[in-house]
């Protein structure tokens, strides 16, 4: 799989990741890693944050759509 954004720029580079939202192939330059905390449990016990956050890969457009800002 090739990087979608590089293809738009007329370049060709191998994708190293896939956006979890739209499924675009992404190279290292265009992949955005946005880790998220995961909480488990809840009533009647307090929620507990798992020790390590979950890695999550987004493309620039989905990142901007979700967080309202450019990365």
């Amino acid at each position: 799989m090739k990087c979608y954004y590089c293809a738009l720029e007329g370049k060709e580079s191998e994708a190293v990741a896939v956006c979890i939202v739209c499924g675009m192939g992404l190279c290292m330059d265009h992949a955005i890693r946005k880790d998220i905390d995961v909480w488990e449990g809840g009533y009647p016990l307090p929620s507990r944050r798992v020790k390590a956050p979950l890695p999550r890969i987004l493309c620039p457009e989905c990142y901007a759509a979700l967080y309202g800002k450019e990365k």
Partner: protein
């Protein structure tokens, strides 16, 4: 990692405050509305004078909706036990630490006391003299031991619902607050006119303290009913559920 114990204690205190203020507040207002009416039977102390069992359903729903709201607000933060019997049952079944159990019980009692004292202040002296701050006592014809057994049965059902809809990881998420609130409403509708349907030592502690401090009745002699009954009922339910749900 959970939210800090301090923040969880604040959530427990506020949650218990909500339960006691709205729940016992409904009982106080019902008694004030019925003041001056002639009871149909000696079994009727005022609640039930206007709407029969509907009075108890209304009070039960006031408790239940307040509890559901508190659970949805604070369930993820503190667990929203808002009941020492629930906290002790979770400790006894090794789901909750001893240090947290002591802290939770203390702040639950503080939240309940604050709710009763504030209720007395916002309503006025009638809340104490007529409404008794919604304190629970055995009703006419209900003996001390009978009252304990009734409280055991009521809290047994409450804890069983908590175990089934919330503690069990197989439960469908999102329904716990609603179902626990409805269970409390149903229990109060049935046993309200027998023991007051406390199901919760903190819920009884607040009105007892308020009545005692503000010149109302001294009801502390009945307090063991509302300590022993709820705690035994919750323990029985928690251990039974663990036994039944095991492989």
């Amino acid at each position: 990692m959970t939210t800090s114990l301090g923040k969880r204690c604040i959530a427990e205190a506020v949650g218990t405050f909500i339960l006691v203020f709205f729940g016992t507040g409904a009982a106080v207002v019902t008694l004030m509305l019925a003041a001056g009416t002639t009871p149909a039977t000696p079994f009727n102390i005022g609640i039930g004078a206007l709407g029969g069992l509907g009075d108890w359903l209304a009070i039960g729903l006031a408790f239940g909706i307040a509890i559901a709201g508190a659970i949805y607000a604070f369930g993820r933060i503190s667990g929203c036990h808002i009941n020492p019997a629930v906290t002790i049952a979770l400790f006894a079944t090794r789901r909750f630490s001893g240090r947290d159990t002591v802290a939770y019980i203390v702040v639950q009692l503080i939240g309940a006391a604050a709710a009763s004292l504030l209720l007395a202040w916002v309503i006025g002296p009638d809340a104490v003299t007529i409404g008794g701050l919604g304190a629970t006592t055995p009703f006419p014809g209900i003996g001390y031991l009978q009252a304990i057994v009734i409280e055991i049965i009521g809290t047994f059902l409450l804890m069983l619902v908590i175990m089934g809809v919330a503690v069990d990881e197989r439960a469908t998420p999102g329904f716990a607050g609603l179902m626990v609130g409805l269970a409390v409403a149903g229990i109060i509708t049935t046993i309200g006119n027998l023991t007051g349907a406390s199901l919760n030592p903190a819920r009884t502690f607040g009105p007892y303290l308020g009545d005692w401090l503000l010149g109302g009745s001294n009801l502390w002699a009945f307090f063991p009913i509302y300590i022993i009954g709820p705690i035994v009922g919750a323990l029985l339910a928690a251990f039974l559920y663990d036994y039944l749900s095991g492989e």
